[in-house]
């Protein structure tokens, strides 16, 4: 592929300092007050409301600075290694910061990037590349946005996002010797312990539920609430409903596909017919749904601002709920665990989680997050062990 050869040439002109400066500058442009880039993305994105883009991008990029990039590179890439000349990045979903980081991280590792945008979001990757070009055309020359599947065959490394079937399909095209990072189906949940005021926890949880309209793998599908004394889960559910209602004004939900409306209708119906549930929902609208469950049984995973609040008696009950999620658990949001947080961490890691964070931060992973338990840079490069 000619594109890949050109990208490989462009990469030769880069050094880490220059790349870090360009990336940090681009992130700064995107998170600046009144950012023109955010405004443009809000106009062109089509999935999320402008308010969501404006708030979500700014909040997500907080801390994505030059020093954070330097620390990450120093942490991950100390030693003798060779970076891929070109990394092919196959994007999925519609969350802009996920596209930004997927492009930025291989660049930080010293690789050029050929990025295929997702069908749901053809805009974010392109606009991010444009912002790089505005700051340093030389760095931007090492990024190409395209959709040629040959890039999977010919790139030196591949990063892929998507469903498990998509990941398996892409993986099958990549020669075994080449680095491959696949980010497949994942889901997340919140666990609220006894040491937190229900209303406070609910407000933080509402942000996790509402951000990116519950479309990401970091969106909580369930909220487990320690129901001791009895009634705490109901308090959380009620306060969560109020907080989601308020957030609908500040961060209105964006566009849904026909199938998504049907999915929400089905989720609501399934919740409604279950014995003992209590539903709170936006009147006459599908913008949010809170279901208070009556048992510790696992209901269908929520999505699109639909969340089930599940009363649990204690940590053992939470463990029983979490453990079977092992192949697909990503993030656990916590509140009110106090001195028992280490116990929750043990539970979470055993269930395959790669992130345990305070409620209200679930959708805002740091740049150096070990996404799906893998270092963001180390798996991309080829290491040399020098023995003397």
């Amino acid at each position: 592929m000619r594109d890949l050869a050109e990208l490989a040439d462009a990469r030769l002109a880069l050094d880490p300092e220059r790349t870090i400066a360009a990336l940090a500058g681009a992130f700064a442009l995107w998170r600046a007050p009144g950012s023109e880039q955010r405004s443009r993305l809000a106009r062109e994105h089509g999935v999320f409301s402008p308010e969501m883009i404006d708030f979500g991008v700014e909040a997500a990029l907080e801390g994505w600075t030059a020093s954070a990039l330097e620390r990450l590179r120093a942490r991950e890439l100390s030693g003798i290694f060779s970076a891929p000349r070109v990394t092919s990045v196959w994007l999925a979903g519609s969350i802009p910061p996920a596209a930004f980081s997927a492009i930025a991280l291989p660049l930080l590792a010293g690789s050029a990037v050929y990025a295929k945008p997702s069908a749901a979001d053809p805009v974010s990757a392109r606009l991010f590349a444009e912002s790089l070009r505005a700051l340093d055309p030389g760095v931007a020359a090492a990024v190409r946005i395209g959709s040629d599947p040959k890039a999977l065959d010919e790139a030196d490394a591949v990063v892929a996002q998507g469903g498990d079937e998509t990941i398996a399909s892409i993986r099958s095209r990549v020669p075994p010797a080449r680095p491959f990072l696949g980010y497949g189906h994942k889901l997340s949940l919140a666990v609220i312990g006894a040491d937190v005021d229900p209303a406070t926890a609910a407000r933080s949880l509402a942000l996790d539920v509402a951000l990116w309209d519950g479309r990401g793998c970091l969106s909580p599908a369930w909220a487990l609430v320690c129901d001791s004394p009895r009634g705490r889960a109901a308090e959380v559910a009620h306060a969560l409903a109020s907080a989601l209602e308020e957030l609908e004004d500040r961060l209105p939900r964006g566009r849904l596909e026909t199938s998504e409306f049907a999915e929400l209708l089905e989720l609501r119906a399934r919740a409604a017919v279950r014995d003992g549930t209590r539903l709170e929902l936006a009147a006459g609208a599908s913008s949010w749904t809170v279901v208070l469950e009556s048992s510790e049984a696992r209901p269908p995973a929520g999505t699109l601002r639909f969340v089930s609040v599940i009363p649990v008696a204690d940590a053992d009950a939470a463990s029983r709920f979490i453990a079977p999620l092992a192949p697909h658990l990503s993030c656990v949001g916590h509140a009110g665990w106090g001195a028992n947080l280490s116990r929750l961490a043990a539970l979470a890691v055993a269930a395959g989680a790669s992130r345990l964070c305070p409620l209200g931060r679930m959708q805002l992973p740091p740049l150096d997050w070990n996404h799906d338990g893998q270092g963001p840079l180390r798996p991309l490069v080829r290491w040399l062990d020098l023995e003397s």
């Binding site: 849904l256 409306f261 929400l264 936006a282 006459g284 913008s287």
Partner: protein, 400 residues
């Protein structure tokens, strides 16, 4: 679902839909909400059976349907606690509707969560379940009578597959009902075979799977027309088998084929057009004698293409007079514009013991004479009646 218009400063009350069954009439109470006239289930079923007995060519009388559907809804609202909870959640907690189009619809997923039945569990005669793995929730239709189920299935099966014969030899590419007692598809084939089949009729999928050697030999020896019926998956297995041997059959004139179900992404997938083309080419059955059936576990009635009945090829599914089908926008639950695709919702009067308004996960359009199916909603769960047969094929080492 989005009935409320967005706007700044709107006051949006929250709907609380508690699972509260108190205050509902006790089972057996026959007075409808709002003081409606006394309607018994037995009386309703008699009226519906009468209509079904008039056959698929009976007038699809709107007033007749409306009156029966509204009365049936009242009964199901009064006696079905799970359905009543759903109605409450969707703001229809009075049990009173203006007409059949206002009856709250039940997405098929709800059949996985609760027993949607208006009779006590001990009265259950049969349970049909959606196909699926042992670990995932499966939808279930609970029945305390098979009278309406049988009447509806036989009326349509006869009309669309055997309009020209009293009896015909069945060759069924699906397991018999005694092997998969919760399969509505196997039950349907068995019931139809009993009523319309000759003594040589048989099921071709047993405990050992589909015996393709024996089946193809049998088909090659035929001198009389048959009804070859089964899941789309099973037909793919048969076609692949014949192709691998370079065999091309010419089934006797008068033979008809019925296939049903999707492919579920579990093996080679074909479009309906490709499947029917391959059946015509490999089995020697004219395209106009190949009929697709659309059915679902949650409904008592099924839908057929009228190709065989009319002699004209069509992909339109005919709707019997005792059923109504709409294509809805799931955001508003209103009918989509004519010719536009929407989510298919069926109102089946033969579903007396559960709920009559069932919302599918299929996209379709309403057209003259019935509806067209465009496929599953993207992202909807894969499920359907052909999976069980295919799973059985896979578990038993696939087709021999």
């Amino acid at each position: 679902m989005d009935h409320a218009r967005r706007g700044t400063g709107r006051a949006r009350a929250r709907a609380h839909a508690a699972a509260d069954d108190r205050g509902a009439p006790a089972p057996g109470g026959d007075r409808g909400a709002g003081g409606a006239a006394r309607v018994t289930r037995a009386g309703l079923e008699r009226a519906i059976l009468t209509w079904i007995a008039e056959g698929v060519d009976a007038p699809a009388d709107e007033a007749r349907f409306d009156s029966l559907a509204v009365a049936l809804f009242r009964l199901q609202f009064q006696r079905g606690p799970a359905y009543r909870r759903l109605c409450a959640a969707f703001g229809a907690d009075s049990g009173v509707v203006g007409g059949w189009r206002d009856i709250p619809v039940v997405p098929t997923g709800a059949f996985k969560e609760a027993r949607l039945a208006i009779f006590p569990p001990e009265a259950t005669l049969r349970v049909f379940r959606t196909s699926g793995s042992t670990t995932e929730a499966r939808g279930a239709l609970h029945l305390d009578t098979l009278a309406l189920y049988d009447a509806s299935l036989l009326a349509t099966f006869r009309a669309y597959l055997c309009p020209d014969v009293e009896r015909i030899r069945f060759a069924v590419l699906a397991p018999a009902a005694d092997g998969v007692g919760d399969s509505s598809l196997s039950y349907m084939f068995e019931r139809a075979m009993r009523e319309l089949g000759t003594p040589e009729s048989r099921f071709w999928i047993g405990a050992a799977g589909l015996d393709l050697d024996a089946l193809s030999s049998e088909l090659a020896r035929l001198r009389e027309p048959i009804l070859l019926a089964g899941t789309a998956f099973a037909f793919v297995h048969l076609l692949d088998f014949l192709e691998s041997r370079g065999a091309r059959l010419a089934l006797p004139a008068g033979t008809r084929v019925m296939e049903t179900g999707g492919f579920k992404g579990r093996s080679r997938e074909l479009t309906r057009e490709e499947l029917h083309g391959a059946i015509a080419s490999r089995l020697g059955v004219p395209r106009a004698r190949i009929v697709n059936q659309y059915g679902m576990c949650e409904l008592a009635s099924q839908f057929y293409e009228a190709s065989l009945r009319t002699g004209r090829m069509t992909d339109v599914k005919s709707v019997p007079p005792w059923v109504r089908t709409r294509a809805l926008d799931p955001a508003t639950l209103r009918d989509v514009a004519p010719g536009e695709p929407g989510v298919l919702v069926h109102y089946d009067l033969a579903n007396t013991g559960s709920v009559l308004a069932v919302m599918t996960s299929d996209l379709g359009t309403i057209v003259e004479g019935g509806f067209r199916v465009h496929g599953r909603l993207r992202g909807a769960e894969a499920r359907g009646c052909s999976l069980a047969a295919d799973a059985l094929l896979s578990e038993t080492g696939a087709a021999r």
